[in-house]
């Protein structure tokens, strides 16, 4: 499919003509957005404070109609090659079933505390979208569990995969893959203890 004779052409030109970009920009004139596109997947980057309003607009506006939130994902950009606007990102994977259209909304967050613990970081808060799509409840819990990003007005923000006393947020890049000894420290049952 790609024309290999033309070496100067960018194989993936950024193409920002997704109609939702214009629609959101028009509705939120004095807000700051950025946008990107890769192989037909368009991403709108939103300021954390605008998130809930933009999401509500994108769900309810009759030209957007993103009636399904298929996933909420966290990303840690520590050590990433390119410069990113923040250390962490939360990505919302939206879907408009009526048009068979997928669209991504992204929020960048930068921690204000060291990230190796589990203290609550006031900079790592973002508004929960469970009031718009109730299905976001568990996916947001997973992002909280894995990255320590907390969601304001979430109905039940607890860890979902690791256990309650887990002393870290394991998908942060500064957390070692093999853990810090959590898997070794547990009660041992031997043949006499039952």
């Amino acid at each position: 499919m790609t024309d290999s004779s033309d070496k100067t052409a960018n194989p993936n030109p950024v193409n920002l003509d997704h109609p939702t970009f214009a629609r959101v920009k028009e509705a939120f004139r004095d807000h700051q957005f950025s946008a990107t596109e890769f192989r037909g997947q368009s991403t709108l980057i939103v300021q954390p404070d605008d998130l809930l309003e933009v999401m509500r607009f994108m769900r309810d506006d009759e030209q957007c109609q993103y009636n399904f939130l298929s996933d909420v994902i966290g990303v840690d950009y520590e050590g990433y090659e390119a410069d990113m606007p923040g250390r962490f990102a939360v990505i919302y994977n939206l879907c408009a079933y009526g048009r068979d259209d997928r669209f991504f909304v992204k929020v960048f967050l930068s921690p204000s505390l060291p990230t190796d613990g589990i203290e609550e970081d006031p900079a790592l808060w973002v508004e929960s979208v469970t009031s718009l799509w109730p299905g976001a409840e568990w996916t947001e819990r997973e992002v909280f569990d894995m990255f320590g990003i907390r969601f304001r007005n979430h109905p039940d923000l607890r860890r979902i995969l690791t256990w309650g006393e887990f002393p870290a947020h394991p998908l942060r890049k500064d957390y070692p893959l093999r853990g810090r000894g959590e898997r070794e420290q547990y009660r041992v049952v031997d043949r006499t203890s039952s």
Binding site: T162, R178, R187, S194
Partner: protein, 189 residues
């Protein structure tokens, strides 16, 4: 395998009580399948008709620990699951035996991560380790037969130099002869 093989005449059987107890125990192992991952599929295959674990008296899978005497740990154990496994082990009544089935249950396998137990023998006693990823049903049957040998020895598996139980050192030769590759194909008409 049956007791009739030990009969010398049609009518009278003399034996020691312990041997009869051992015989009945090893011939009616009731496994508790703790199948957490893909090894569980192979465990099901072992129990089903082609491999037929019933030939070894171990077909009665019990999902209650209080009714079973052989715990088969089949699959990776996350640290969140570990308390459940330990509790099941503690609820089983003596005498009881444990098979650690597959690379994951025995060592953590490829899942060398913060959330996976690197070998369930760190936290519960294990009698027999069955290698493989997943072990073939034949291999698991070999493990069950190893348990039967432990029972035949009055529940005493070999002891290590420090007096603690060590698993049986069973090495299996593959039961097929590898052929040079590629294999020529002939089509008969």
């Amino acid at each position: 395998m049956g007791i009739e093989a030990a009969l010398t005449s049609d009518t009278i059987l003399t034996t020691s009580l312990q041997r009869v107890i051992n015989w009945s125990r090893r011939s009616s192992l009731w496994p508790l399948p703790f199948a957490t991952a893909c090894c569980g599929i192979e465990l099901m295959a072992t129990a089903s008709s082609r491999y037929d674990l019933a030939r070894f008296g171990a077909e009665v899978m019990r999902f209650s620990p209080r009714q079973s005497d052989l715990l088969i740990v089949a699959g990776r154990i996350s640290i969140k699951t570990l308390p459940v496994l330990q509790r099941l082990y503690e609820q089983m009544t003596e005498p009881k035996w444990v098979i650690s089935m597959g690379a994951c249950a025995s060592t953590g396998g490829v899942f060398d991560t913060y959330a996976t137990v690197q070998g369930c023998d760190q936290f519960i006693p294990v009698d027999v380790y069955v290698p493989g990823c997943p072990p073939r049903p034949e291999m698991l049957i070999e493990g069950v037969m190893a348990i039967q040998r432990i029972i035949d020895e009055d529940n005493i598996p070999p002891k290590g130099p420090d007096g603690r139980r060590i698993p049986l050192g069973i090495a299996l030769q593959p039961n097929h002869a590898p052929r040079p590759q590629p294999v020529g194909v002939t089509v008969s008409r």
